[in-house]
Symmetry: C2
Subunit: 336 residues, 2 copies
Amino acid sequence: MTQGRRWILAARPQGLPARSDFRLQRFTVAEPATGEVAVRVAYHTVAPGVLPKLSGETYTAMVQIGDVIPGNGVGVIEASCHPDLRIGDRVAGELAWATHVVVRPESIQRLEPATFGADVPMESAVGTLGGAGLAAYFGLLRIGQAKPGQTVLVSSASGAVGSVVGQLARIRGCRVIGIAGSAHKCTDLVNSLGFDAAIDYKTHSDLAAAIRAQAPEGVDIYFDNVGGEISDAALLNMKLFGRVVVCGQTSEYQRVVPRGLLGMKQVITRRLTLQGFVVHDFAGEFEAARRELAGWMRAGLLLHRPTIVDGIEHAVDAFVKQFEAGGGGRPLVRVG
Amino acid sequence: MTQGRRWILAARPQGLPARSDFRLQRFTVAEPATGEVAVRVAYHTVAPGVLPKLSGETYTAMVQIGDVIPGNGVGVIEASCHPDLRIGDRVAGELAWATHVVVRPESIQRLEPATFGADVPMESAVGTLGGAGLAAYFGLLRIGQAKPGQTVLVSSASGAVGSVVGQLARIRGCRVIGIAGSAHKCTDLVNSLGFDAAIDYKTHSDLAAAIRAQAPEGVDIYFDNVGGEISDAALLNMKLFGRVVVCGQTSEYQRVVPRGLLGMKQVITRRLTLQGFVVHDFAGEFEAARRELAGWMRAGLLLHRPTIVDGIEHAVDAFVKQFEAGGGGRPLVRVG
């Protein structure tokens, strides 16, 4: 009988999560039932988005006391009672903060061996080749319809989605300007990710003017991850017939009363198209998109730079730190 | 020498316009210079939108004291010094509150004899076949991409644009719901213009629920003339992948601080497309659109119902009344 370790919910977080809300538990890995597979987890995320499920603020997929904490991850199949998945297959999808997990195949996807290899590690399936990378891909290329020579502006440019948007815009032959929240992030966008310019919105009292200085002829595509004031500053710089890709509205999620978009008159006078999307709408094309993204990674045009935390015993620490001041990037736990 | 009458600006309106701000003047009609034409005005509008030009609140095309008041209209050419326009041609465009006006052809369009006739009076060129009708046509059919069987919601449905949008939606085979500001208007939309339903927004504390009651399966196309609270209520009723035609934001124009659109999260979760437009972008297709609209008028499918005011001497009275409580519809002055 294989022995594993997993994090379970010990107490519901009150407000911000505490380390004492979690407990690392040893357990005996169950055999998969018919239709199920057993996965040895290689990497798992500790995304902040799981918090409402732990604190009981959401009714959908709420985690009960004693339950294992859910999280996306990648792993290898160790036992299979499903005809389409074999021992040794690498998979990505909804796994858990655990060394081993038994799941149904609906919640995971098999990783194509041709896509993942030496230059495209399997853990990129929950990063640049995962939901964030796919949102950047379909958002910029399908919803935004980016064309060579266009000027692309992206908010939350250092984030998981934004950093890929900027790199894809460069690959597509666009000029790209990022908006981020620190001088350090802005330097990284330009020096490491190839952005043409980056604007630290925290140091500009007139963000619209700061954008204008970097895009005096206007913006063709604004990739919107945040909404609010930053989006209104972007609208004031759009070219006629420009496109706004509405991918996220993170500035709204914490508000009790939404602020929204004030500049609706710009939508008329500048003949703008604003389009929202959810990456899952493109699920049928994920494999083809991953192949193209993997090709760019192999060619060195698209960087995958996860913050790796080594050892499942550090998962909760990595989770909690994201809610603290200066929490930094999104960690990926190497179960090891 | 032909004698005419025209309204000139006697004093700048302070806030709302007063009858004493205008003076009806007799004048001798000038001969057109090379490239100009003299037009005998048959009908002219007294649109409220001219007020900022009179009160000096706008720097573009400001009317000076002693100047004739500008306004769209239709008329017949009485003298021409332009090779493309002949005596007897009917024209529509930027004329004036006057019996006669000398203009350059750039500001007017010749009315095709094949389009206008017994069932399609020339004055419809500044109504159903004018800017408002064309905005409804291109907004609903091009920007909205209306298809048979869809549900269309239109705000300011009794207005010049909205009333045509509703009728075109019915012609296109859509179900159409209007939002208007009085019980009388709502009755008229359903009984005279063929709307499937109409909602008086002033009598509903929960407008989103009122829309839901009329469109329980959701709205495919929202034709937005007003913005603000009404648009947010509409967003809460959009179907997945619905389209919002952003034609006007009248609720914003009077505000010092814009309110904007609060429900940007709906744009993502419902995968909405919001698109702004200006009718002039379609100028190259106006003639073809007018022919199609005229065909529907002849077939009795599209009503042209201007509020006619007889006699140029009543123009100022008709203008001022629109700013008073219960001002009613948009009048058209028959110069007579």
